[in-house]
């Protein structure tokens, strides 16, 4: 799996959540081109080819970003802002994943142009289902969009 060629960028600070997410995506064969970064700073570095990802071709953008909101250093909302502010990344579909259904988070992220939203339920099955459906959906949409170019 190349760090520099990703279809799915998973931004998640919780190793357990990340593992469960990857496991869910694996089940539907979507995890082979997945890059997992552990916080917002790293996510931005990856997307813009800076910091530890210096030299990475920023033009090579992932097809979908799964973004956790509550993270140390740079949180999901800030990452979302920067993604949507950059011409190179603003068209990447972003799916927000969060533990809470706090209205504030939802409103803020929709204002910032998030494409989808999923609350991580305690029941793993439904979470896995939601994640895999979303991942599949957005990847397929993107493929169609790319193919039609």
């Amino acid at each position: 799996m190349s760090n520099h060629d990703a279809e799915i960028l998973l931004v998640e600070d919780s190793m357990e959540d990340a593992e469960m997410t990857i496991r869910a995506l694996k089940k539907v064969n979507l995890a082979n081109k997945l890059v997992h970064v552990k916080d917002g700073r790293e996510a931005l570095d990856f997307l813009f080819g800076t910091g530890s990802y210096a030299g990475r071709d920023a033009k090579n953008v992932p097809k979908v970003i799964l973004l956790d909101i509550k993270m140390p250093k740079v949180d999901g909302i800030e990452v979302l802002k920067q993604i949507k502010a950059n011409d190179n990344t603003k068209f990447i579909p972003v799916v927000i994943m969060t533990s809470s259904s706090q209205e504030k988070d939802i409103v803020t992220s929709y204002e910032l142009g998030v494409n989808s939203y999923v609350v991580k339920p305690v029941e793993f099955e439904s979470f896995a289902k939601a994640v895999s459906e979303l991942g599949l959906y957005w990847l397929l949409i993107n493929r169609i969009a790319t193919d039609n170019r």
Partner: protein, 605 residues
């Protein structure tokens, strides 16, 4: 005080009450001064009138006395001269021995009595009162018979008298009659006929003596023959002959007069001096007029002073009123500037202190409210942050526990025996349970802080949709649920939906083990509230625990039989409380339960 007076005073009071102080004070001063002025004016008028009358009367009396004595002396000298000349020798001889003295000689004597313009003629009568001679204005006769005149006078020998004045036509005549006496026998009479009128010069002299307005009258004591020395005039009232006092009466052509009369000594005449009251009253009137003018002037000054005084009083009052109005409208910055040392100044200072204190108190209050609000906001934010982190952070490990348990089951399921699998599923169900608990708790805490909206809710439709939603997963026909026609009510539809969901959910849950689960949803209303109830035939509960029913985490059934977090009814109660409604439950173990809740008909938003 009789009733009409009370009425009048009451009316006056209400009239005064309608006026402002600024109008009242000058009005009072005006009334006071005017009444004083009028009273003084009237008193002065009558006082001056009375004293003027007295002075004028005294003067009239004096003048009348003086004039009557002058007249008396004049008549005495006239009678004396008449007597002297009448008893001159030629006349005596002419009478004693007719023919001894020629007529012309006798006439010379007689003509001596023709002294002034008032003299008309002189006649000589014999003792039989027959005219012998006549001297004077030729051809003029008074037409009064000498005999008649003498009969009135009843002369004694060696005497002379002045006759009454006799009116003949427009003229008045009198005669100074003297006897001609020889040897104490009357041998003849000399009659000096005179006109009672005087010349303009004579009248002028009287005027100078008496003053221009005064008039002099002469008349007989028997009330006849009155004249103003120009022409005959009407007689004055009869009581005028009493000389002790002065009199007032009305004279034709002149009006009211004051008069004094005095008999002229040695004659049968009366002298009367009249003075028009107009002149005397004029003085009194003029005096009263002056008083009125001065009084009016004082009144006007009084009103002006009163106006300024009352303005002086009302201006600070107005300022106070304006300041009070400003304060009442919420502006506490206004103060009253009254630079005075009197009671009003004191009031204004007190007012300013009061308004300052109110201002300070309000500012303090505002500051306190601000502080409290800030504190509350901080607490609220902390609470929000807390519930946020609870919802995030407590759920993450739960998710991991559940997720990893599933992974274990999926990846190593074939290696686990039945007991291991039971333990694993217990772990999973508890993790799920805790997730539910956290969700419920967050909902519960959010409900407390939520501002409720207020709209019309179709309660029947809402109850029906809750029933549909909750029985979707149940086998068809398991529950017999009837819903009556429910009255719509006002409330927050999201929250009321939560109430229906929880209550109907409870009814379904606690009747699920019955053979024929039956639920009845109904309602009724009274004047103030709409009431709704949900009745089931489930397990029910013991009423002695009813007080614990609506408390958080209080459950009357064990988890093993009926799953639950113990938050549902607490949330329902909180929502109903927020709507100012009521909730209660009736039940007996094994006989089902009925939950009643009510919402006010006019719910405030």
């Amino acid at each position: 005080m009789n009733q009409s007076e009370i009425l009048v005073s009451g009316k006056k009071q209400s009239l005064l009450r309608g006026l402002s102080i600024q109008q009242r004070l000058p009005l009072l001063i005006c009334i006071l001064l005017l009444s004083t002025v009028v009273a003084v004016g009237i008193a002065a008028y009558f006082g001056v009138k009375q004293s003027s009358f007295r002075i004028a009367g005294d003067r009239l009396k004096t003048v009348a006395g003086q004039l009557s004595s002058i007249y008396g002396q004049t008549s005495v000298s006239a009678m004396l001269s008449s007597k002297t000349i009448a008893n001159e020798e030629p006349i005596k001889k002419y009478l004693q021995s007719p023919g001894s003295v020629p007529d012309s000689i006798a006439k010379i004597s007689l003509r001596k009595l023709q002294t002034d313009t008032q003299s008309l003629y002189v006649e000589l009568l014999d003792k039989n009162q027959q005219r012998l001679l006549r001297a004077g204005r030729p051809g003029f006769e008074t037409g009064i018979s000498g005999q008649a005149l003498l009969a009135e006078l009843q002369l004694t020998p060696d005497s002379a008298r002045v006759s009454k004045m006799k009116q003949v036509g427009d003229s008045l005549y009198y005669a100074i009659v003297s006897t001609v006496t020889a040897d104490k026998q009357i041998i003849g009479y000399v009659l000096r006929w005179r006109i009672a009128f005087t010349t303009e010069q004579g009248l002028r002299q009287f005027s100078q003596l008496l003053g221009t307005d005064a008039s002099l009258y002469l008349g007989n004591i028997d009330h006849s023959g009155w004249t103003d020395l120009r022409k005959p005039v009407n007689a004055p009232p009869e009581n005028v002959y009493d000389t002790a006092s002065y009199y007032t009466y009305s004279r034709e052509g002149i009006g009211p007069v004051i008069a004094s009369a005095r008999p002229i000594p040695n004659t049968e005449w009366v002298i009367l001096i009249e003075f028009p009251q107009r002149t005397i009253l004029e003085a009194a009137r003029r005096f009263a007029g002056w008083i009125l003018i001065i009084g009016g002037f004082i009144t006007i000054i009084g009103i002006i002073i009163g106006w300024f005084m009352s303005r002086n009083i009302t201006r600070p009052l107005k300022q106070l009123t304006a300041a009070a109005t400003t304060i009442a409208s919420g502006d506490y910055s206004s103060s009253v500037e009254v630079d005075r040392k009197d009671e009003l100044g004191e009031l204004a200072r007190s007012f300013t202190i009061m308004s300052t204190q109110i201002k300070n108190a309000k500012e303090n209050l505002e500051q306190k409210v601000k502080d409290r609000t800030q504190e509350l906001e901080i607490v609220n934010k902390e609470l929000e942050a807390f519930s946020y982190s609870v919802s995030h952070d407590l759920r993450a490990p739960l998710r991991a526990i559940n997720g990893y348990a599933i992974m274990l089951k999926e990846d190593y399921g074939d290696k686990l025996d039945a007991e291991a699998e039971r333990i694993l599923s217990t772990i999973m169900s508890n993790a799920k349970m805790m997730g539910q608990l956290i969700d419920d708790l967050i909902t519960f805490s959010k409900t407390g802080a939520k501002i409720i909206s207020n709209q019309w809710i179709d309660m029947r439709e809402m109850a029906q949709s809750c029933v549909d939603e909750l029985t979707r997963m149940e086998p068809a026909g398991k529950y017999h649920i009837s819903i009556d026609d429910l009255r719509p009510c006002k409330g927050d539809s999201n929250l009321i939906k939560q109430v229906w969901m929880n209550l109907v959910g409870n009814a379904i849950k606690y009747s699920s083990r019955e053979e024929m689960p039956s639920i009845h949803i109904g309602g009724y209303e009274d004047d103030t509230h709409c009431h709704y109830f949900i009745k089931d035939n489930g397990v029910g509960f013991d009423m002695q625990y009813a007080s614990k029913l609506f408390l958080v985490f209080q459950r009357l059934h064990t988890d093993a039989v009926y799953k639950g977090t113990g938050i549902g009814l607490a949330l329902v109660k909180r929502i109903i409380d927020k709507h100012k409604g009521t909730i209660r439950a009736e039940s007996a173990p094994g006989h089902g339960a009925t939950f009643y809740f009510s919402l006010p008909k006019t719910s405030e938003s």
